[in-house]
């Protein structure tokens, strides 16, 4: 029963039309939940822009999931803090409910096989280096193992 549930949960996440992770399979993916009313998001989004610019060519994909009830609030925020990565709008909170988001912002890091390997609750300036290290190791390690397979 538990196995069935686990399979179902995995399938449900994969089959979610709002967030199609199959499309980016084979890359390191960061799914970041943010909202206009979330103060640390003002710092995390510029940081995510920086990571995107730095590592996109090595296979990093960042997807921001906005959970604002009103699209206008999100757009106003983006006018002040532009995000240079894909944004998915989820006003009904379907994705955060599925992921079980426990804090805002929250980010989930998927490895190239599509498995969640890290979860960051909140965003702290002091931990930027640590967040980046996780990404760098994944990009690097996966690149190596792929090279080994070929």
């Amino acid at each position: 029963m538990l196995v069935l549930l686990a399979l179902f949960a995995g399938d449900a996440l994969a089959a979610e039309p709002l967030l199609d992770l199959d499309r980016v399979r084979g890359r390191v993916v960061v799914v970041d939940f943010w909202a206009s009313w979330c103060t640390p998001c003002r710092r995390s989004i510029p940081w995510l822009n920086e990571m995107q610019a730095k590592y996109a060519d090595r296979g990093l994909v960042i997807i921001g999931v906005n959970v604002d009830k009103s699209r206008g609030d999100a757009e106003q925020f983006l006018a002040a803090v532009p995000a240079r990565f894909e944004i998915v709008y989820d006003p009904d909170g379907r994705l955060p409910a599925k992921f079980g988001v426990a804090a805002m912002p929250s980010s989930y890091v998927f490895d190239r096989s599509g498995k969640v390997v890290a979860r960051h609750l909140g965003f702290q300036n002091a931990r930027r280096a640590e967040y980046e290290k996780v990404l760098r190791e994944l990009l690097h390690a996966d690149g190596q193992s792929r090279a080994g397979l070929q």
């Binding site: 939940f33 909202a35 206009s36 009313w37 979330c38 959970v67 604002d68 009830k69 009103s70 609030d73 909170g93 955060p96 409910a97 988001v101 426990a102 804090a103 805002m104 929250s106």
Partner: protein
Amino acid sequence: MVRRPLVILSAVVAVAACAGCAHLGVAPWERDILARKEMLLDAYPVEAALDEHIYFSKEASSGGRAFGGGGCGCN
């Protein structure tokens, strides 16, 4: 047959007892309305200052709205 309503009632009570408290509170991603300025206890500083003035004039008490200040009237 007589027992049927009782069975239904106990089923309803059991379901309510099991699930009733499962959705208390606000999820982290649902806090946008709570985060609005007008949801603060003191959303308007002028109003807060007027309240403070009334307390001070009528009760000779002040402070006690935050961590500092005691409201003992001993200022």
